[in-house]
Amino acid sequence: MPKVTLSHFEAALLFALFTSIVLGVVTKKTDRDRLMYGFKSFGYFVLALFGLGWLMYFGHG
């Protein structure tokens, strides 16, 4: 199995993508709601990613 090296951002983004897909699929009852929830969930992941990134940046001084 080849070894991959991803940056923090790439790894977190991929994790957010796959998790959002599954959350979207299993959470809602109609396909439209699933799609919307998947996008919303991904958006929140990315928002949290940038938010925590800046928080750590300023936290380190």
């Binding site: 080849p2 090296t5 994790f15 897909i21 699929v25």
Partner: protein, 139 residues
């Protein structure tokens, strides 16, 4: 009040109907959805869980071994072990084929470990979803 009474009185699904489906969902991520003819959702679940797991392996993530000690150690290691195992065949094949990765410092390995557990937890969500479909609570 009446809602909670109705919820309690909801007829339970016979074991013979849901156990094989949930077991298939555990063994083969997305398999239960295929069986229940939810092909689109099956493909999405199967791809997401499998790719997350494979990325975890390619990042050389460590598999958790159950370990007890203080409360936090027990929760992390036993919970992590259950999370790893929840990937079903992906986990079993990986262990049978001799994958063994010691815990190494570094963000890539760390992410790999989280991807492996994350894949299992996603599969747990898929198992619950499959159960709800069998129980008739979801389309």
């Amino acid at each position: 009040m009446s809602d909670s009474v109705a919820a309690v009185k909801r007829p339970s699904v016979p074991l013979i109907r849901w156990v094989p489906v949930v077991a298939l969902a555990w063994i083969l991520p997305g398999g239960a959805h295929f069986l229940l003819k939810r092909t689109g959702r099956a493909i999405l679940i199967s791809s997401a869980v499998t790719l997350t797991f494979l990325l975890g392996i390619m990042m050389r993530g460590a598999m958790f071994q159950p370990m007890t000690g203080d409360l936090l150690t027990t929760i992390i290691y036993c919970g992590g072990f259950i999370g790893d195992m929840a990937s079903g065949l992906l986990y079993l094949f990986t262990v049978w084929l001799g994958y063994e990765q010691p815990e190494i410092a570094g963000h890539v390995h760390d992410y790999g470990t989280k991807f492996l557990v994350g894949a299992g937890l996603m599969n747990v969500l898929a198992m619950v979803d499959a159960y709800e479909i069998v129980a008739g609570r979801k389309a």
